[in-house]
Symmetry: D2
Subunit: 338 residues, 4 copies
């Protein structure tokens, strides 16, 4: 059934990246160029992350009309970690208005460390993509369900965004995260003190839910489909299914644009100018709106907690192609259109 949808598009000959073979050659060149970059340190606060080989490096591309290209370690399961945060936010926005959701969380880059114990002037987490904001968002997602059903619902939604491709749960990571999460427990109690949660929230359950979403695994391949679903306004390009409301996706991309790359977000918005989200597993999920999703994975992290190879790849990509948010400004010297 799904194939027919894709074949139909091919017959119409109106793919968003018409010269896809040439484009893939460019991606391959960038892949090898970036592979030689060997700086950064693999996260080590839990043994499960520390065991990732520093040489792992994979890139997957999925366009909004379902063309695919992958190179490197693209079939190894990797934990979403913070990459789950914009998905959680999108799922909450899918059910509640931005006005309601943003009574609990701000829209501002925090200008501070991702896990700092500090609220905005009106006593809300600064945005949904830092730990405190994501924890609060977890309390808002299907709050009337029990914990099993909440996780079930969320992972099914993630899977639909991924076009039913690989999605798994790493229970060892979850247990380790929970074991070592002093800061997140501190954050949780601090948030409760400031009445940041909706009434009736069970703090321990909410933190468990948060750790569980961080422990969901994708592959670079399935992750690129999730990114492509966002690039495509909420409709999965592989299945053609509308998974998320377009308004929810719009707002998610808006915050990924300004707050997605930890303390490097400002520089990233300036240099790359695209919505993205990184995670401590070494993942970077990049969205080129109306064009494609990209999922990069390489465990060694820079000082900000972003994958070194991932950042480098994004910058090279935007140096070559016309993807920066303001690249299409009139009278600009043209780079390549993909």
């Amino acid at each position: 059934g799904e194939n027919i949808f894709l074949i139909a598009k091919a017959f119409h000959q109106n793919f968003i990246i018409p010269e896809f073979t040439t484009f893939c050659e460019n991606i391959e060149d960038l892949y090898w160029k970036v592979k030689s970059k060997t700086d950064g340190k693999v996260a080590s606060y839990i043994p499960q992350l520390a065991r990732y080989s520093p040489d792992l490096w994979g890139v997957s591309v999925c366009t909004i009309d379902g063309q695919r290209y992958s190179i490197g370690d693209v079939d190894v399961p990797v934990c979403l970690q913070s990459v789950s945060k914009p998905l959680t936010y999108a799922l909450v926005l899918n059910e509640q208005t931005p006005e309601v959701v943003h009574q609990y969380v701000g829209h501002e880059p925090s200008g501070r460390q991702f896990n700092e114990i500090k609220l905005s002037a009106d006593n809300k987490p600064h945005n949904p993509l830092i730990n405190s904001g994501a924890i609060v968002l977890c309390s808002l997602l299907k709050q009337d369900f029990n914990l099993a059903d909440r996780f079930d619902y969320t992972s099914q939604m993630f899977k639909r965004l991924a076009g039913n491709e690989h999605l798994s749960f790493n229970n060892s990571v979850f247990l380790s995260e929970r074991e070592t999460a002093d800061r997140n427990f501190a954050l949780g109690y601090y948030l409760r003190e400031y009445k940041c949660f909706p009434k009736g929230t069970n703090l321990m359950e909410t933190l468990d839910f948060y750790f569980q979403l961080c422990s969901v695994e994708v592959t670079a391949q399935s992750g690129s489909v999730i990114a492509a679903s966002l690039a495509n306004g909420g409709i999965c390009p592989i299945t053609g299914e509308r998974v998320l409301d377009a308004g929810a996706v719009r707002n998610t991309l808006s915050l990924m644009h300004s707050c997605g790359m930890y303390d490097y977000s400002g520089q990233f918005a300036f240099d790359v100018g695209l919505p993205a989200k990184s995670g401590v597993s070494g993942s970077v999920m990049l969205v080129v709106p109306n064009v494609m999703g990209v999922y990069m994975w390489a465990p060694p992290l820079d000082q900000y907690g972003n994958s070194c190879k991932g950042i480098e790849f994004c910058e090279e990509l935007v140096d070559k192609f016309n993807f920066h948010n303001y690249d299409n400004l009139r009278h600009t010297h043209r780079k390549l259109d993909p």
Copy 2:
């Protein structure tokens, strides 16, 4: 000479806003709707600003192909104040590479008050659109010229961006600014202590230059042409002259998008999703890339220092039209295309 340029475009019938009359009716409706909003307080730290009537309210639009619409108090000179900051930044970028310029100033929203005495972790002002960053930028602009020539050059560039329309200098404002600028003097010495200026910088001259650029006046009409020149990638839509390099404009818009509206910047980027800059005179300069520039002026300010009517107008505009940065996401429910 200039007229021929515009007439030529008209004959080609390819204006960016084809139904301009209808569009102007919409703008007029919004103008009257917003006029009734009477909250906010006129800035009073210098007498020259305090004397602005709280009832002043003007909106001017200039498209990238030179169509114009104005309503209200659009011919009264008004000081640029902080609206000069992105222009200064663009002028510096016009002559030096972003790499050189950003050795002196960051790209990050500061997460703090616009005039806070605080540098980023690497001892730079957070970005060029807060006071400390703008003061440093003033030291970089034509640093080998004497002060008279630096001001001369800058005001001529501003005038060229404004299509040679109204530009004046309010010497009383300059004198008052300098008289009452304890915080900016404190910032200046603090920046010098941290070696934030290039070698050979004369601090007092730099501060004078900064106060002078804040005291340059436009009208809403001429201001809208400046905004349109930015929307048009650096080519003035009225004269057809390339005033700024397109790359300089791209980077300026990028930072206006994330840092232009003081501490409201995050919310503004989320709600409006367009590059803009406000000033304490009650000005808001808004850029719709590849479409038009808008200059709004109404003195009463909200708690963040932004014009109440200006903010309201921007939000109403984006509610009606398809201008938000992520509005063109595929499969989104469509608003009006202008």
Copy 3:
């Protein structure tokens, strides 16, 4: 047995306050003067504290040679709350050297709120008299005992300091404290993240122990004996028993002098110049070294969390008598010697 000790002193006629009757008349005058001060608000974060009548007001004095004077509500049990903190610190110092203890906690006034989530530059709580410091101290006290024995030991030591007078435990307060202690749980996890506890510390048990010590009750009468034991270098003036090592008491008084009155500590050291500690129950325990202990109790608190009447009484006392740390400076205009 104990009486003999006191009678012996009386026969020797060398009481530290020779004209004790006159002195007590002065205390009574101050008591009534301060009673009319009706500002402040009773703490309300747990119902057990909120139920204290705002009119309760008692003052008890016990000299280092065991003379006693009490007036007002001096037989009503009142929770120590933060007044327990210097006692905990003294007990820890009684068993371990200051060098070991201060590996875990600083000696500095924090310049911040008593419960702020912030450590000193070397990642220790600023001092033992703020919440974070007191929680860490609880982990150091008889750490090899089980919880029941730790509490048993500590409350027995408190009772010996109080000359075996009233000491009780308010289990409702303990349960309420634990129930509402989001900030203290946040602090606990934060401290554990920064490895502020000795190895093997059980966080939940430590917090329970902390809440329990806050829930120990004295009366103003028995509290004044505790204060007198501190004033007397660790020997209880009622029983003649050495309870604490004199060095432990010296260091405890030193920190009470600089850090005992929350954010008012600097002003209090300046105006009153004596070691003291206040608690949210409205208690103030004041030590006049080598002279006497005073325990004041009145529930309404000022903005800093100190008992309004307690502060007023201390200031009046030092205005009249020669008790300020620097009052005995040569050539100073003399106030009364008690």
Copy 4:
């Protein structure tokens, strides 16, 4: 004339340190012991300080009854730098009530760097012994005099405190200080913005006055007389003249006790328990109330800006003698009474 005063005391045989010869032998032993401590770095922000030899080391003692002992480099002029701050504060208190003076400056240790640009919650400098507080105090001292007369008055008062012994002015230091004082200018403007100065204050003159008082020189010998005048309640032990009101001295000692040693003040109060003030020239002025003044000088500074040898000497002194504020607590194991 002055000699008669001293001889009279000698005949009365009631010197405060009866066994002065033995005491001096102890001081000499400590001097040599501390001399071997060679860590620390000489201040280098102005060339005049950088030129001090790191080997300079002098200690002078003057008792409240005028007995003297000096060893090492005690006749070399050294700038007071921050040691002038408590003297300025005492002079202001000598003329105005503490209530008036403390409308402009707090009594709290700041918990922050000595030159941080930060005011207390009620917009005052935290205390008179940090830069911002001292600058404000300079504006309060003889504010109706012209600058020449203000300096004249102040240096004469310093000289009277020093028993008319060595006092000089280092104009090169003054000029260098003013030249390099970006932070202090920043502080000055910041204070003016927050209206921290009394009406009519001339900021530039106030800063000049502040730099001038930092540039006044004493020798360790004359400095010890100043310290002894403070120890003696404001009466110079050499001349018998009352220079300062005893209340002014009491309050000065109170703040030196809590805030005199930069960010090490808390630890110093805990370990040494005596009023002291250090300066970046390597001076430490120590007051043992009712006993003596000590002036130590050795240029190499620790991380806090305190003289390494000076701190070490103070700690050794209090380890041997019974000088700590709480050393006279009853039932304490006795150290030496001098």
